[in-house]
């Protein structure tokens, strides 16, 4: 059993295996999309490698973080669709 790490996604506590990125954690928590586009469409990750910025979320109060490039840490607070 791999070690897990617990973080908060939009106020809900989510436990994921160590090494999981925030983008993967959000998707597996069941949140359908990570951000709203300029016209209000729901968007999810596209490139998975930090190029497209579609997966940007707020992490520990820092906005526009590319969630596919950030590994989950204990106690992290993530907000989607800001």
């Amino acid at each position: 059993m791999p070690e897990t790490c617990t973080l908060s996604i939009d106020g809900a506590r989510v436990s994921v295996p160590q090494g999981t990125t925030v983008a993967a954690a959000v998707l597996l928590s069941g949140v359908p999309g990570l951000r709203r586009s300029v016209r209000g469409e729901q968007r999810g990750p596209l490139c998975g490698m930090g190029i497209c910025f579609e997966c940007r979320v707020t992490i520990n109060g820092r906005p526009h973080a590319r969630s596919c490039q950030v590994v989950c840490e204990h106690g992290m607070e993530v907000r989607t669709n800001d």
């Binding site: 999981t20 983008a23 300029v38 190029i51 490039q69």
Partner: protein, 429 residues
């Protein structure tokens, strides 16, 4: 904010296979080596997440070599500007790094080319490499129905990876013609290593249809993807699926090279036999010099490492391998060239620029990237045209303008540091 200034004989931007090979070579020549990457661990895309437990004997050997070499790894940091000659700035979540170097090696890799089609902005429509990267980063895929589509050998590698992790890969849709794929397969006979890899992959993909002349015409769903419609010649059909992994081969990441003034040739960074760019002291290895795959990246990486460390003779024995692999790269380019029918995929209301939500209809009224950009803001969002630039180049034949600094979005604090006047050239308090 904690800021740090570091100096290296050789600084490497990008910690994928090319960067790792360069770092090992330069360090083994006795140079001080720094390596910066926006990912948390070294490995790039090919070896993403393998740092603790490598998947192949080859990656394991390289990680061992990297561990033995003393390399200062600046993790999770994006290089966004040049502070002056021999100084780059990188920003991570909690710091701005001033990185000084005598020689610089650019190993910035490649990204997927995305082409717009109706529904491609729905959640769960991703790049082919994009979905693979997410699964490597912890996204469970077991039991999920996946369509892999687009173009290039990456589709096969992605399908094999997803299948191995329990996905139900419904089919692989390759836009290239059957004739081209047959020529490619025949061409592989001259590259026994690649042929063997191809046969292994083919075996692991048994039972999954690999369709030539085939592409997705649309993706549909309410809040996220529910089904995709495909076309192969005259046949059009719809499949229910959970993920659509769609990428049309690769585009070199040349933004930083362009910022530093390196010349490009046909979209790739021009280098000499030592992998040195048109800017003295700046070298380039791997995909930015032309899409060629893992083995070529490793060969070029080693050559740059030795050359930048001032021991070019050590690099010479690798030249013949590089020559052979570059011929293979030409075969790849020829095989997976995009067919013109794909230009008619977007509908009038299909979004092309995802950052600014600019539709195909609004773009096609313009006659250049610059005019479209000024009028519609396409390419002016956070990705700075990295996604829509390559699409617009294919759809309209527009040449995207070089990205301006910062080459990655940076914080106000970071921008203040990189300003040419005002706060000065030092970032210390």
């Amino acid at each position: 904010m904690t800021d740090a200034v570091r100096s290296f004989d050789v600084l490497i931007v990008g910690a994928g296979p090319a960067g790792i090979a360069a770092a090992c070579a330069a360090s083994e020549c006795g140079r001080t080596v720094g390596m910066v990457d926006d990912n948390p661990t070294p490995g790039g895309q090919n070896w993403r997440g393998e740092a603790p437990t490598p998947n192949t004997a080859e990656s394991a050997a390289w990680y061992r070599r990297l561990l033995a070499a003393e390399i200062d790894f600046v993790r999770g940091a994006s290089v966004f500007a040049q502070l002056g000659s021999g100084v780059l700035l990188a920003e991570s979540a909690d710091a701005i790094h001033e990185l000084r170097y005598a020689k610089l090696i650019l190993a910035t890799g490649a990204r997927e080319r995305f082409l717009p089609f109706p529904g491609w902005t729905l959640p769960n429509v991703m790049g082919a490499g994009g979905l693979q990267a997410l699964v490597k980063s912890g996204l469970p895929i077991s039991g999920m129905r996946v369509i892999v589509a687009g173009s290039g050998p990456l589709l096969l590698a992605v399908a094999a990876y997803l299948k191995k992790h329990g996905a139900r890969v419904l089919l692989i849709a390759e836009q290239a013609t059957r004739a081209r794929l047959v020529r490619f397969a025949a061409g592989l006979l001259r590259y026994p290593g690649k042929l063997f890899q191809g046969m292994e992959m083919r075996r692991s993909l048994s039972g999954i249809p690999y369709l030539s002349d085939c592409w997705t015409v649309s993706a549909e769903g309410k809040d996220k993807l529910e089904r995709a419609t495909l076309r192969q010649r005259q046949k059009i059909w719809t499949l229910e699926c959970d993920y659509l992994a769609c990428g049309f081969h690769l585009v070199p990441n040349t933004e930083l090279a362009e910022l530093l003034g390196c010349e490009l040739r046909e979209g790739s960074v021009r280098v000499d036999e030592w992998q040195e760019t048109s800017v003295a002291g700046v070298f380039c290895a791997g995909e930015p010099t032309g899409i060629g795959g893992l083995e070529l990246a490793l060969a070029e990486g080693q050559i740059t490492g030795y050359a930048a460390a001032g021991q070019p003779d050590t690099a010479r024995p690798i030249f013949s391998e590089r020559r052979k692999l570059r011929r293979f790269a030409l075969l790849l380019e020829e095989t997976f060239r995009l067919r013109k029918e794909l230009k008619s995929l977007p509908g009038a209301e299909t979004i092309v620029c995802r950052c600014e939500d600019v539709t195909f209809e609004r773009l096609r009224r313009h006659n250049s990237w610059r005019a479209a950009k000024l009028e519609t803001r396409c390419g002016m969002g956070p990705c700075q045209g990295r996604v829509c630039g390559a699409a617009a180049e294919f759809l309209f034949g527009w040449q995207a303008e070089p990205v301006r600094p910062p080459v990655f979005p940076a914080s106000v604090e970071a921008l203040a540091v990189s300003a040419p006047s005002g706060s000065g050239s030092s970032i210390r308090d």
